[in-house]
Amino acid sequence: MTYRVVHYINQFFAGIGGEERADYPPELREGVVGPGQALQAALGEEAVVVATLVCGDDYFAEHAEEAVDKIIGLLESYRPDALVAGPAFNAGRYGMACGALCDAVSKKLCIPVVTAMYPENPAVEIYRKDLYIVETSDSARGMRDAIPKMARLILKQLNGEPLGRPEEEGYIERGIRVNIFRDRIGAERAVDMLIKKLKGEDFATEYPMPSFDRVPPAPAIQNIREAKIALVTSGGIVPKGNPDRIEASSATKYGEYSIAGLENLTPETHETVHGGYDPTYANDDPDRVLPLDVARELEKEGAFGSLHDKYYATVGNGTPVAYAKKFGEEIAKKLKEADVDGVILTST
């Protein structure tokens, strides 16, 4: 049987126009349009591009839900077996449209989908876990490389064939871990890698570390004797009984607690709820993690102006970066509003 594929492109690739026509509403055309020709060639005999969906980037961005509903309505009459969207390269709105549409079609029509983008397209971060997104260059110059990979991925899915690893198939890593057998043990492979590294040779890590963003250092405190300092911890120190029920791992919240008038943390008043280290020492004396006792002494001695009367705590144990970022943003806002000048953040 020949599979029926529908292809989604924006107003630009459909030859309708540039930004001035970006408000073009969704439209379905019979057969191939623009890059669809190359897609049809790559699909060969196994599948036919029965129709092309065209929508302006602004239209989609401004009426996302409506556009998806409309497009799904248009699609249904064509009974497609699969949807191919893009490639969107590094075009942000186009990428978001391809991602949103593929996501909706895969969920509502339950058919295979594939799209393609440059890794830094903002839609990649949002959709890469849910979709197969072929990695492309940042501009349409990469069309010739991208189309055959998209065709192969969609055909494999249609035929129910297992897909290979991201680098084999050319899609952006989805964060899925698969168990595989290797003929040499990890220690041997690690030593090989180390030797290559020492020799300055190329080597491929088996576990790439996530990349993190950087923030330039905040300006230094000029007058420490007048500065208000706050304590924050990821070590899970909370008032005894854990009133906010902060989780021992993968925390979804943080707590704000008063230390007004408090000179010292004791096993009677505070405890740790962190599930990622031995809590014995912190529970015996919580000042070992949140150093209130000495902070109070230094405050009295005038080593700094004053101690903020609230502290913030969460559990940094497998906490998703997105949560940690959100906690940080909220805490930062509160500390700014309280005219805090500097923060001592302790971690276990």
Binding site: I224, D285, L335, S347
Partner: protein
Amino acid sequence: MKELERVGLPTVHVCTIVPISQTVGANRIVPSVAIPHPLGDPTKPLEEEKAIRRRLLLKALEALQADIEEQTIFGN
């Protein structure tokens, strides 16, 4: 940590696993005693422990007053 620095609040990270702090992008880092008791040492008498805690906090205050351009470790 980064969100605090992002809004202009100088923030010092007192922690034991310095490489993690560096990887996640802390700008001011003070290495501490041990993972389960970063600002204390249960093998020492209380007075000595508090002296360690005081030394680390003074170091942290020093870090907050330092004009830095890049990630800096404030060690001993």
